[in-house]
Symmetry: none
Subunit: 224 residues, 2 copies
C-alpha cells in the first residue's frame, strides 16, 4: 500500500501486533505498521467512513453487488470527495464474514482465472491500491523518467533524411543490390522502415558513417 | 501469473532450480514452475518472440521510452496478434541490465509513489499480469493504429533481429567503421534505432541483403 501512496492502516483484532515477522516483511514500509490503528471491531475501524468497499471473492446472498476493481475504485474515489473511504480486506484464510461484507456499501472482486483464483491477501491489497493510484491520477500517474524525452539527440530534418536516403541508394546501386532500372518497391520499403523509427540527427550521422566506410573499402567514393 | 491465466515462464540462469523454497511459495501454482523453461540467456528466452516489454523502474539512456502499464500492455496484446510476446523482468535486487532492456522493443514502469517506490518483483509481476488479463477481457480489444504500427509483413522474431545485428557488426568491423576493441556506444545506439522501428521479417531480409551485397563487393563473405 505504501508503494501506491496509501498510508492509513487499521487492523481489526490482530492475533499478534506488533509482530517481528510483520516488521521484517514490511521492510521499508515499517512506518505504516507503526502508525497502524489497532481496533476491536470492523465498526470501530469504519467509524467516520462515508463509503467502504469489501473485498469479496464471491457474491454474498444479501451483500452488495460484487463489482470489477476499476469501476469500484472509481466510485470509491468519487465518494472520497464526501469524506473518508475504506477498502476492507478479510484475513488470508477465510476472508470477510457475511456480516463484515454487509457493513460495506460496495464489494469488489479481482477477476482471476477461474481455474486458479487463489490470489493471496498481499496481492489483492497490492492490486486494489494500484487501481486507486491509477484512478486517482486519471490513468496516468507519474512514471519515473517520463517527461524525459526518449530521444537523445535532435530529430533529423527532412533534408538530412533525404541526404541519407540518397547515400544509401548510391551504395546499394554500387554493390548491385539495387537496380535503378528495375527499382521495384525497395526504396519505399526502406522509407517506411526508417520513417517509423523517426531518425535523429546523430543516427543519420552513424548510418552515413557506415555507408561511407563501405565506400572507402570498395573505392566508390562518398556521395551525398 | 497463474491467477491471471498466464502459464508460460522462462527462467534465465536461475541460481537454484528446482528450488524447494520456490515450490513452497508457489503453493497451488507449482505446475507453472514445473513447466518452466530454464535457459542460459535472455536471447534464448526471447527466441521466436516478436515483441518484448522490459520492466524498468527508470528510463535508460538508450533504452525504449518507458510507458505506463495500461497503454504498454494494450500494445503488447496487439503485438500478440503477430506472434509470441514477452514480459521481461530482472531479478529482485538489481533488475534488468541496460543490455537486457535494449533487447526489448518497449519498456514499462509501474507508477509507484516516488516517496516509496520499492515494489518487489512478485508484486510487479502480479500487477502486470493483472493488467494483461484486464485488457484482454475488457471487451474493447485495443485497435492497431494508436501509437502502434500496423505491420505489412510478419514482425521479426528476436533471433532474426539478433542475426541482423551480428551481420551488421561483422560488416562494420570489416570496413573499419566499428572497432570491437573500442566499441563505445555505437551498438546500443543502433539497437535503440532499430528497436524503435520494430523490424519486420521482410525488412530484416532487405537490410541483410544490403549487407551481403556489400560483403560480396569487398570480398569478406557473408556471415550470420
Amino acid at each position: 500500500m505504501k508503494t501506491m501512496g496509501i498510508g492509513e492502516l487499521y487492523l481489526v483484532e490482530p492475533k499478534r501486533f506488533p509482530d517481528p515477522e510483520a516488521d521484517v516483511r514490511a521492510t521499508g514500509a515499517v512506518d505504516v505498521l507503526q502508525r497502524a490503528s489497532v481496533v476491536g471491531s470492523l465498526d470501530e475501524a469504519l467509524n467516520g467512513c462515508v463509503f467502504a468497499v469489501a473485498m469479496s471473492a464471491r457474491q454474498r446472498d444479501l451483500g452488495p453487488a460484487v463489482g470489477q476493481p476499476r469501476e469500484t475504485v472509481a466510485r470509491l474515489l468519487v465518494e472520497a470527495g464526501e469524506g473518508q473511504v475504506a477498502l476492507v480486506f478479510g484475513n488470508e484464510t477465510v476472508g470477510l464474514s457475511n456480516e463484515d461484507v454487509l457493513r460495506c456499501q460496495a464489494a469488489v472482486s479481482i477477476p482471476t482465472d477461474p481455474a486458479f483464483s487463489s490470489l493471496n491477501l498481499g496481492s489483492a491489497v497490492q492490486l486494489l491500491c494500484y487501481e486507486c493510484r491509477m484512478t486517482a491520477f486519471a490513468g496516468r500517474p507519474p512514471v519515473a523518467g517520463q517527461g524525459v524525452t526518449p530521444f537523445a539527440s535532435p530529430a533529423a530534418t527532412a533534408d538530412e533524411t533525404e541526404g541519407f536516403f540518397r547515400h544509401l541508394e548510391t551504395v546499394m546501386t554500387a554493390t548491385g543490390f539495387f537496380n535503378p532500372e528495375q527499382p521495384g518497391r525497395l526504396l519505399p520499403k526502406l522509407r517506411r522502415l526508417f520513417g517509423r523509427a523517426r531518425l535523429e540527427r546523430d543516427e543519420i550521422n552513424i548510418l552515413r558513417g557506415i555507408l561511407s566506410a563501405t565506400q572507402s573499402q570498395t573505392g566508390h567514393g562518398r556521395k551525398g
